[in-house]
């Protein structure tokens, strides 16, 4: 019962913030609404008994990626914190595409036979040591590749963001 109420609370938080991201006209409000979405998704992870993933979501996404985005906004906006509004036709096309996508996905989800109630045994909890053993056992190669990617990204980001003045063309 309480988990149902919590689900709808987190779902409304997630979807409401996502819609706010869609319609917001200010890039700082966009980042704030993204924080709501990330927190709501972390709550959904808690309800799905993925506690470690919820903590990772809050620490890395809300604590790391979002701070990075906010720094990007502060460093790249000298004038107003503005979005450049697209043309009306472009916006209409995008919204139409989004509505078609949403209706198609929801129709597909509702029309497929949902496995709820039939031979589903939701886990009581996910043991955290099993997660660690899976990461260093079955998924060792992706794990190591992820660490290589992080190293490459760290070097690449430091190299790319170095301030270099572009030479004038024709000289």
């Amino acid at each position: 019962m309480i988990s149902t109420i919590l689900f709808y609370l987190f779902a409304i938080l997630t979807c409401g913030s996502a819609v706010a991201v869609c319609v917001s006209g200010n890039v700082v409000r966009l980042a704030t609404a993204l924080l709501g979405t990330l927190a709501g998704v972390a709550g959904l992870y808690f309800l799905l008994h993925a506690e470690f993933l919820a903590a990772v979501q809050l620490v890395i996404y809300a604590g790391g990626t979002l701070i990075l985005i906010v720094f990007g906004i502060m460093l790249t906006n000298r004038l107003a914190y503005q979005l450049y509004t697209p043309r009306r036709a472009e916006r209409g096309l995008a919204v139409a595409l989004g509505v078609v996508l949403l209706v198609t996905l929801v129709t597909g989800i509702l029309s497929t036979h949902s496995p709820q109630g039939s031979e589903v045994h939701p886990p009581r909890s996910y043991p955290i040591h099993a997660l660690g053993q899976a990461l260093l056992g079955d998924f060792l190669i992706p794990f190591e590749l992820a660490s290589v990617i992080l190293l490459v990204v760290m070097i690449g980001a430091a190299f790319l963001s170095k301030r270099r003045v572009r030479k004038e063309r024709g000289q």
């Binding site: 149902t4 979807c15 993925a50 450049y84 129709t107 509702l110 992820a146």
Partner: protein, 116 residues
């Protein structure tokens, strides 16, 4: 499409999938309508979160193990998605900063040097 099949009191897999699809549609609309490069990046984050919600929901409702020893593939996938998303955001912001230093703008429509 039978709406009667989905009950509001009993939260099942469909509910999480619908939340994921709403997130995905909002992300796509954000990518398409925002002209600010950072706004587009935020749209990409929404899409990645939608995928993550689906992965974790499927791992909860359709894992292949027993209730005491569930399989964790979906969660591991979600962890890798989060790692890749952090890496992608770092590189994208570095590129945007470089672009801003050269063009004094963050509007993606200004990046038209390679246009024929």
């Amino acid at each position: 499409m039978n709406i009667a099949a989905i009950s509001f009191a009993h939260v099942g897999l469909s509910h999480y999938l619908i939340v994921g699809s709403i997130l995905f549609a909002c992300g796509v609309v954000t990518i398409l309508t925002k002209r600010n490069a950072i706004g587009m990046l935020i749209g990409v984050e929404l899409v990645l979160n939608a995928a993550n919600v689906n992965l974790v929901a499927y791992n909860f409702f359709g894992h292949g193990g027993t209730p005491d020893a569930p399989r964790l593939d979906g969660q591991i996938f979600a962890i890798f998605v989060i790692v890749i998303a952090a890496a992608e955001a770092a590189v994208a912001l570095a590129i945007f900063l470089n672009f801003y230093n050269n063009f004094a703008s963050i509007n993606v429509d200004d990046a038209s040097d390679l246009k024929g």
